[in-house]
């Protein structure tokens, strides 16, 4: 097991390196002069501009710039934002709490709702309950996250006043509405996948054996079938968590929560390369960690993967 994890970590590091190069390159596809946009509209001498260039390492060639960035990143220093004049690490540090909390809350919430919903749907296949859930999940799969967020905010915060309309800060109360909004999409998809997986398992031979051996139905469904159905569910869930990371960006924008999302989007709009590179790399890193955890989870559940 340990070897398995080690190998996966190796792979992850390799991918991260390649990805970092890719990010660095992609952001600079259309060349622009950050110093020019920084000093736009202001009367700045050539000397000062050159000083700025040296300060931001813009006088060096791209490879060197990349190396400076990446070596700093590994140590926790992501460079300096063009726009905010602060260290990117500080900026991230201020906001990452909000984003991570949001994503974790959403993830847990959606699993708590989606898994039982999917199992129930599968057991009561084609009954009115199943059809109702099917329609509901369809609608939520089709709703973009920002629409759900908007509607929830409109109805529950602004019109009904059940929730405060200011969502800044780390408190649970402020986070619950955004977390629900973020979760709905994943709930819908996960419950569909769970339903499909459960139906497939319930039709399989070993369930037939368990039933014919007289095991109580409840145990057969919840322990035998569900555990086996988890594998495809987890695969989709891990991809969904990635989508949720990005969805958090959208939700944060609607609820004005001051998380990483804002930082990233403003960074893109203002060509703030250090911010964009670093936040993206960080998000990819988190995503890859999630994937790693999922792989470990697979290995724990399925002995066939462990022993290969």
């Amino acid at each position: 097991m340990g070897k398995f994890i080690l190998k996966r970590i190796e792979q992850m590091v390799l991918v991260l390196v390649v990805v970092s190069v890719l990010i660095f390159a992609m952001v600079r596809i259309t060349p622009s002069d950050p110093v020019a946009s920084m000093t736009k509209g202001r009367n700045v001498s050539e000397e000062t501009k050159n000083e700025l260039r040296i300060h931001y390492h813009l006088d060096k060639n791209p490879v060197e710039q990349y190396l400076i960035w990446i070596t700093g990143a590994v140590q926790g220093d992501f460079g300096e934002s063009y726009r905010y004049k602060q260290g990117v690490s500080d900026l991230i540090g201020q906001r990452i709490g909000v984003t991570l909390k949001l994503v974790v809350m959403s993830g847990i919430l959606s699993l708590l709702i989606a898994l039982p919903a999917g199992i129930l749907s599968a057991i009561k296949m084609n009954t009115w309950l199943d059809k109702l859930l099917s329609v509901l999940t369809l609608i939520f799969v089709a709703s973009p996250v920002f629409l759900t967020a908007l509607v929830l905010m409109l109805v529950f915060a602004l019109r009904l006043g059940w929730f405060p309309s200011i969502f800044q800060g780390n408190g649970i109360k402020q986070m619950i509405l955004p977390a629900i909004a973020l979760a709905m999409n994943m709930v819908a998809l996960t419950s569909r996948i769970t339903r499909a997986g459960m139906i497939e398992q319930l039709n399989s031979d070993y369930i037939r054996t368990a039933t014919s051996n007289g095991l109580p139905r409840r145990r057969v469904v919840l322990v035998y079938a569900f555990k086996n159905a988890l594998i495809p569910v987890i695969t989709v869930t891990s991809v969904q968590l990635g989508t949720m990371l990005v969805g958090a960006v959208l939700v944060e924008s609607i609820f004005a929560m001051g998380g990483l999302g804002d930082l990233l989007i403003t960074g893109i709009k203002t060509a703030d390369y250090p911010v964009v590179q670093s936040v993206t790399l960080l998000l990819v890193f988190v995503f890859l960690c999630i994937n790693l955890l999922v792989d470990v989870f697979y290995a724990v559940i399925d002995p066939r993967i462990r022993m290969r």
Binding site: D205, R208, S212, N213, G214, P303, R304
Partner: protein, 326 residues
């Protein structure tokens, strides 16, 4: 002696994309205590369907069952699901054709047997594991303690089948239904499994309903056998009597079509035509279109089971005599 299992006029209708399929249209079968009873027939004749009906493993929304299945005098078709659950595994057990997919891939074989035992007897973990080891030894898997912790994919086909048998007999059922248990295994393993089944039947006084399409298997293990065709039982009797001279033309042709025993250069016997599609309940003898002896009487009504002496039944208007030439 009373029959352990008595199936009378069992009908099963299935919902399919082509309409209602009359899979079983009146099956009569009985199994005595301690006897090994075979069901033979070609693919699609309804033998597995009969077995699954006894265990009520069908999807209730797509299947309609009629008639009667009595086990130790108790009517199974009217039992509640809970009651049926209690019967399964403890009084009647079943083993299936493909052992690889019939075992839970994520649980050790010891855990699966133990779980089965615990659910029925409420025994503790340790006790159940001991029982599991005991069962593994009984079916010939050694060393039991080590094998207990292995997963199904680590075992060969023959061993997997033994594990299934171990699970099925853990609670000493009175009847074991074996649905083509050896079809997916190679011949040497086949013999071992059949031997095991016979031994268990003798030791435990357990009846076995053995379903197969292989007459060789039947000849070796079954005391009595029923031949099925197109959803009905066409002949029932003692195996030796049947093999000596089957009374129903279909059984006769079936036995004659087994290759081997004839002179070199002689043609293999076949039965011309195809089994009927079962979209209507039968109004005539279903074998008539392919039967060399059929006449108008056969095509007008379904023949009732005729007693050919000694409890040997054949559903034919003109049952063949024992020594009749083919």
């Amino acid at each position: 002696m009373d029959n352990l299992l008595e199936i009378s006029n069992l009908t099963v209708e299935l919902m399919s994309t082509q309409g209602i399929v009359y899979a079983l249209s009146g099956v009569d079968l009985s199994v005595r205590p301690g006897e090994i009873h075979g069901i033979v027939g070609e693919s699609g004749c309804g033998k597995s369907m009969t077995a699954k009906s006894v265990m009520r493993l069908h999807n209730p929304r797509r299947t309609r069952m009629g008639g009667s299945i009595r086990f130790e005098g108790q009517e199974l078709l009217s039992l509640s699901d809970r009651a049926m659950e209690k019967l399964r595994g403890t009084e009647i057990s079943m083993i299936f054709q493909d052992p690889m997919t019939s075992l839970n891939p994520l649980m050790t074989i010891g855990a699966q047997i133990a779980d089965m035992y615990r659910c029925h007897t409420g025994a503790g973990k340790g006790e159940a594991m001991d029982k599991a080891k005991e069962m593994l030894t009984k079916v010939g898997i050694e060393p039991a303690a080590r094998r207990c912790r292995q997963y199904p994919f680590e075992l060969s086909g023959g061993m997997q089948q033994r594990v299934m048998i171990a699970m099925a007999i853990a609670c000493t059922p009175k009847l074991l239904i074996a649905d083509e248990p050896t079809t997916a295994l190679d011949v040497t393993i086949q013999a071992q499994i059949l031997e095991l089944l016979q031994k268990l039947s003798d030791d435990m006084g357990m009846s076995i309903l053995l379903i197969t399409h292989n007459f060789g298997v039947v000849a070796e293990t079954c005391r009595r056998v029923s031949v099925m065709y197109a959803g009905k039982v066409v002949e029932t009797g003692e195996t030796s009597a049947l093999l000596r001279g089957a009374r129903h033309p279909y059984s006769r042709s079936l036995i004659n079509s087994i290759p081997g025993g004839g002179e070199r250069g002689t043609r293999l016997e076949t039965i011309p035509g195809f089994p009927p599609a079962m979209f209507r309940p039968p109004e005539a003898c279903l074998f008539a279109p392919r039967c060399p002896y059929a006449d108008d009487r056969c095509r007008a009504a379904y023949p009732p089971s005729a007693d050919c002496g000694n409890g040997h039944l054949a559903a034919c208007f003109y049952p063949l005599r024992e020594e009749a030439a083919v």
